[in-house]
């Protein structure tokens, strides 16, 4: 089951052309663009690794695409996302984030129901992939 998160997550994966257009949009707005990767697809996982440094003084998406290709070469089977940070006062936070690469096979999630006092149920989501140690997951 493909993991989804971020902008356009309900659409099919973005094509290279669409990724370019998104990055261009980010630069046109003056945002800094980051490339991040992980092999832990849990929705609450906020600690993705950064690939290289944030890119904020670029005029054209080509620089980001070059880095993305380099990142894919090293982590072809990881999740990779692009995010953009808006540093203007009042925002100072991420404005956009979208997946640009995913493992070939995504085993999905195990949903654990934990019955506690009364009839209350607590839910735990566990990616099957994270049963294996980091680095051996996909």
């Amino acid at each position: 089951m493909p993991m989804t998160q971020g902008t356009f997550s309900f659409l099919p994966d973005l094509t290279d052309e669409q990724i370019r257009a998104q990055v261009k949009y980010c630069f046109d707005n003056g945002w800094a663009v980051n490339i991040e990767y992980t092999d832990d697809p849990h929705p609450r996982n906020t600690y993705w690794e950064m690939w290289d440094l944030p890119m904020f003084d670029l005029a054209d998406p080509a620089g980001v695409i070059t880095e993305l290709e380099a990142c894919k070469k090293v982590f072809p089977n990881h999740y990779i996302r692009i995010s953009a940070f808006d540093s203007t006062a009042g925002w100072e936070s991420l404005r956009i984030s979208f997946i640009v690469n995913r493992p070939k096979e995504e085993p999905g999630y195990h949903l654990e129901r934990n019955e506690t006092h009364g009839r209350t149920v607590q839910y735990t989501l566990r990616p099957y992939a994270t049963q294996k140690p980091a680095g051996q997951r996909y």
């Binding site: 005029a59 054209d60 998406p61 009042g90």
Partner: protein
């Protein structure tokens, strides 16, 4: 996004006009004539501006026109489905100090953008220090950073030969060159590289780095300016700063140029600019000495003969150089007059 407290409105950088891409040729149909496309493209304007802003430089302007022709023909061919690799446009500018290499390179980004060959009119100007690191592992990220910033536009490497220091075999310059060569070859449609420098050093650099030479398609040589051109450049520079010569000052400056251009350490248009800066200074001093006179726009904008004739050049010296040094042949390096 409705939850922002005060979302700043950010102006999106205005999309610039890409002359060539504005012309819509009907798919698969042959346009009337190249002249027709050329007229419609807005490129004549670009050249008119180039002619207006830069005096002389005929061979350079000629080469730029040739490149434009190539790009126009290429565009028409593509419209007809006659595909070919996009032409390589990496360039090398050689010439003496102050001949306008840097100025033209800065223009190149605008021109190529107008011609629709590059996606932005950004030009990133760098020298060795921006690309080459100081310790192991420092160079590659530095160079890549620069390359990424320049992508979509033009990377201008001034005095490119300093990248390469053959006398030091541990020099990291070679690493920067290697990365650069890779991008120049593999991402030709992402980046145009322009290198500039003095002809002799550039020739040595290319001999030592044949890979570099073969990737540079256009070698353009910047000739020294003649006396008449230098005078014209001087007047243009003055006009841009809202000054002008009066008739006598003009004649004096013509004399000045003739003497100065045959002295050592002459840096073409840059020497002219420096001379004018000094003339402006003397004008200000004169205005102060006559400070009781009523000011007019006329007096504030006019450079008089005295401002030129005061120059040490008329007494056998060189301006901008300490007394005594001037005649020492080759004591300074070209370009030192900056």
């Amino acid at each position: 996004m409705a939850f922002s407290m005060h979302a700043p409105v950010q102006a999106r950088p205005e999309e610039r006009r890409q002359a060539l891409d504005d012309i819509d040729l009907p798919e698969g149909e042959l346009p009337g004539s190249l002249a027709e496309i050329y007229e419609k493209s807005g490129i004549p304007e670009v050249f008119a501006r180039l002619d207006r802003d830069l005096i002389g430089l005929a061979p350079v302007k000629g080469r730029v026109r040739e490149i434009a022709s190539l790009l126009i023909v290429d565009k028409v061919r593509r419209q007809l489905g006659l595909t070919a690799e996009p032409p390589t446009l990496h360039m090398s500018f050689t010439g003496n100090p102050g001949t306008g290499k840097t100025t033209v390179a800065m223009r190149m980004a605008q021109i190529l953008h107008q011609l629709g060959y590059i996606r932005t009119d950004r030009l990133v100007a760098v020298t060795r220090d921006d690309m080459v690191g100081q310790y192991i592992g420092h160079t590659a990220p530095k160079t890549k950073e620069i390359l990424k910033r320049a992508m979509g536009g033009v990377l201008f490497i001034d005095e490119a030969y300093y990248l390469f220091r053959p006398e030091n075999e541990r020099d990291y310059g070679a690493e920067a060159i290697e990365i650069l060569l890779q991008i120049m070859e593999n991402q030709r449609d992402d980046l145009v590289v322009v290198v500039a420098g003095y002809a002799d050093k550039m020739a040595k650099f290319f001999t030592a780095n044949p890979g570099f030479r073969s990737r540079v398609a256009h070698h353009i040589d910047f000739p020294d300016y003649g006396a008449a051109e230098l005078l014209e450049i001087g007047e243009l520079m003055l006009a841009r700063q809202n000054y002008r010569f009066d008739a006598k000052a003009r004649a004096a400056f013509a004399d000045y140029v003739k003497i100065r251009m045959n002295q050592p350490h002459f840096a073409n248009a840059r020497s002219i600019r420096n001379a004018l800066d000094r003339a402006r200074m003397r004008q200000a001093i004169r205005l102060f000495q006559e400070k009781d006179k009523p000011l007019t726009k006329e007096s504030l904008t006019t450079i008089q003969e005295g401002e030129i004739r005061q120059s040490r050049v008329f007494r056998g010296g060189i301006e901008g150089w300490p007394e005594g040094v001037p005649d020492a042949q080759g004591a300074g390096q070209p370009g030192m007059e900056k």
